[in-house]
Symmetry: C2
Subunit: 370 residues, 2 copies
DNA sequence: ACACTTGCCGAAACCGTTTTCGGAATAAAT
DNA sequence: ATTTATTCCGAAAACGGTTTCGGCAAGTGT
């Protein structure tokens, strides 16, 4: 382990800009401008100053800079903790992406939590008023998200992870769940499925709308009729996933394949299938979305669309920093695609919808006669 | 929803201390001292100033304060992301606890991630040098944790979530895994178990040591002999849990009950049990530790010790803030207890260890003859 | 009546950095 | 040899607070 740094974390007597100035026989203004790459400083002195700064271990005090520049080099992230854990399965990756991307540019990430809209706005206000952060990363976008309007009006920089319905000019990074789900439909159709159900997330979240659009588009391109009873919404948790799957499979003509808007719901679906005496990947095919790690350990492993949450965090951080710095955004917004990872849960149908229905209702009668 | 705040987040023309001074015909020094509760300001003017401050919506600029006071009112948390997700199952709760506790005192939380020791120290240095944070919350304590020595020597305030072996005078908050595991042994013994295995976490983590001590203490008080082949270490993930359980159950005299240092490992254990044609809660009893939500949805649900991670975060934040403020710590450290939550996985043994061994080896032979 | 506290506040220095402005030196143009 | 631009840097004023110090008034003790 090679390191050019001292093994201790020094705190006492930090070297200030005047120390540098003194040791180089320059004024502190010159030092500052040299470090900030002003054009009225000669290249030679810039070099000299930077070298000495490195030698003496000078690190600018961010709060002192902030008072003049108005920037603290900090990104804000407000987490909503009211909802179910499922939302935060990727939190570590996301935080890592953001923090790492910010850290390399000497920015930091401050996170806060909120339980309600009012709580969240309150937190925005406080962080902005105290100038603890220079901008926000917004996650879990709603279809109609008041936050983007508010932040936009207040002229506070922000970026969205995802999109919203409002047509304000904001920048965002998103993974196209729409095309992913559409391709899921096509893949299942290619495998021979004709009855494909869709278990969606909460309808107020924007990504749910997108994925639903993808589902409908997939039916369209595959030439399949749209069946409103094949769509279940507002399914977020494992248990809700189980119930929704149960509901779909006990339909008169049950789907032979189910697409889930969230992996977590799909994992709940496994139980419903098992309880009906069926098995996933044989009698019923599953395709999920998110790529959570638990999906790998399910039996059979869950076919899903893997989302690179770390990359999302990285991109969002850089986009926001650039925006705050007032740099021309090369891209105001960016859309990536999730990577389909076929595993054991999606295969050609072994039973037709009718056979499935017969089996299931038989199971039911069997039970009732007991 | 009643709110005294304007619906927008104002940014332009923040009200400064001079604005207050002007409107009250006082000097800015007086305003500052009034707000900071100096003793040389009369109660009447303190009241007057605070009232006006609230009316005008004055919020001090933390970076401006920081430059003089040396404090930015920010807590630091460095997350290690190299390890498996299991460590971060409670991250949301923990962050919520810390952030909420900090927020009510107008402090904030900045998080960073690190992948190695060197990386983490580097991050410490940067955050301290730039004075982005006033102190750190340290999680995932090792038995010999270099971090506490370094931070202690550098005189940087910090608190530990957990403990370490070093006998420096640091403050910590911990949940006593030791007493929990000890009581787990006793409970299982009370149910009739005589062969109790223990699947522990990584040995370099301090809590693993503590829980192992608890296990040994439990055997001691129950009068059971200690059997070194009943202890497996360094089990962190689901798959490792499965393998470890498999190993214990294929012993000549398998345990009829297993205690897991981590719920996640226990969930892996379910699979091992099922694959052997046995069932948890009947043939083999499980008791876990942590209280992760997945444990509720396992069949049977996992008996475990529930840890209040949110409360831990809250306490740690307040302890650290108090310490930074230089307030006399009423308690330098604090130990809470995990709450045992019996569910379906722990019951009286239906088979003795011999019967279990016979069944399992029969299963094995059966397979080999195929 | 006087000196002596005490309570309360204003003035000014200070924290570490950025940024504006002007001016000395040097180079280029006439 | 002047004038005119350029280049480069120093001096000083910000930024928005905190903290020290000194002083005026009112109360206290003799």
């Amino acid at each position: 382990m090679v390191s050019t740094h001292p093994k201790n974390i020094q705190l006492k007597h930090r070297v200030k800009i005047v120390d540098l100035a003194q040791s180089l026989n320059l004024s502190k203004g010159t030092i500052s401008r040299a470090l900030n790459d002003y054009s009225d400083i000669s290249d030679s002195t810039k070099l000299r100053v930077r070298k000495q700064a490195k030698i003496m271990g000078y690190i600018p005090l961010s709060s002192a800079q902030a008072i003049k520049t108005g920037r603290v080099r900090a990104l804000g992230l407000v987490l909503r903790v009211d909802s179910h854990d499922s939302h935060h399965a990727f939190l570590t990756d996301f935080l890592d992406g953001v923090s790492r991307s910010a850290g390399t540019r000497n920015w930091t990430l401050t996170v806060a939590t909120a339980t309600s809209d009012e709580d969240e706005l309150q937190t925005f206000r406080r962080l902005v008023a105290e100038r603890k952060v220079d901008g926000f990363i917004i996650t879990r976008c709603l279809v109609n998200d008041i936050r983007v309007g508010l932040l936009h009006d207040a002229q506070i920089p922000f970026v969205l992870y995802g999109r919203t319905n409002l047509d304000a000019d904001y920048s965002y990074f998103d993974i196209s769940g729409e095309t992913a789900i559409e391709s899921a439909v096509c893949r299942l159709v290619a495998l021979g499925h004709k009855n494909i159900g869709f278990i969606n997330g909460p309808e107020d979240l924007n990504f749910s709308q997108m994925r639903k659009n993808g589902y409908l588009a997939g039916l369209e391109t595959s030439g399949l009729a749209q069946n409103s009873s094949y769509i279940v919404s507002d399914v977020l948790t494992r248990e809700q996933g189980q119930m929704a799957t149960q509901a779909l499979l006990t339909l008169p003509t049950p789907p032979t394949a189910i697409i889930f808007s969230l992996d977590m719901a799909a994992l709940g679906g496994y139980r419903a299938v098992e309880k009906l005496g069926l098995s996933v990947g044989k009698d019923v095919s599953f395709i999920g979305y998110d790529g959570i790690s638990q999906g790998v350990y399910a039996t059979p492993a869950l076919s899903t669309f893997e989302v690179d949450t770390r990359q999302a965090g990285e991109r969002l951080a850089t986009m926001l920093i650039d925006q705050i710095r007032g740099e021309p955004l090369e891209k105001l917004n960016e859309i990536q695609h999730a990577k389909f990872t076929p595993r054991g849960s999606s295969n050609p149908p072994q039973k037709t919808s009718e056979q499935l229905a017969e089996f299931i209702s038989g199971k039911h009668n069997e039970r009732e006669t007991l």
